[in-house]
Amino acid sequence: MAGLATHLPAYLIFSLVLFSFGLVAALARRSAIGIFMGVELMLNGAALNFVAFQALRKGVIANDNWLHGHIFSLFIIILAAIEAAVALAIVLRVFGTRQTIDADRSDELRG
């Protein structure tokens, strides 16, 4: 376990774990909020990848004093926030009209 903190593949595998569990949640959950949480997990795994590459493969990227990886992770976090606002607004609206947020049963387009 020595050197785990600077071992790039360990971070990559961990973010893959987050991504996989997120995928399971996004595909298998019935409720729309559960699906949304799965998507959040996947986004987190991806964001961690960017930062791990930035920190542990410095010098490989051109012009890396701009902290490309950090900016991209920040970008993902911003996107996730906007996504949360819109997605959960839709969830609430769907619940308001159908009294359920089961994604399998909300198959009509009419409000």
């Binding site: 920040l74 911003i78 926030a81 606002a85 959960l88 607004a89 609430l92």
Partner: protein, 144 residues
Amino acid sequence: MLQEFGNALSFVLLAAILPPLILFIGKFFRPSFPHEGKLTTYECGELPVGSAYVMFNNRFYLVAIVFLVFDVEVALLFPVLMLFREAIEIGGPAISQVFALSFAFLGVLFVGLVYEWKTGDIDWVRDAVDRREHLETLEKGSSK
């Protein structure tokens, strides 16, 4: 830097384990006389009726959504406005760049706030206003 992260981490960890630790130590000192009455939900002596999970005014939800967007804004402005002093010292286009970009950012979100203000989405009492309007229309309908 790593040392400072460690310091901050030790603060957070100590704060997080304090409650379980205190409760665990207290276990050896405090009395325990379980009684059916103590286990019921407290509702001022009445027996609780129905579930506690009542439906909520979705104003809370609307506020949380609006908050989310402004939260992102505040968090993003921190690293940029931090450069303000430095940009003044550098001079040239740097300062106008920082100023224009950060206040374009603020301005756009302010437009959002003004929009919500105008449409009444951040009014908490909108329901009450709606209710009064509704009552008025009902009265008009009945008088006809």
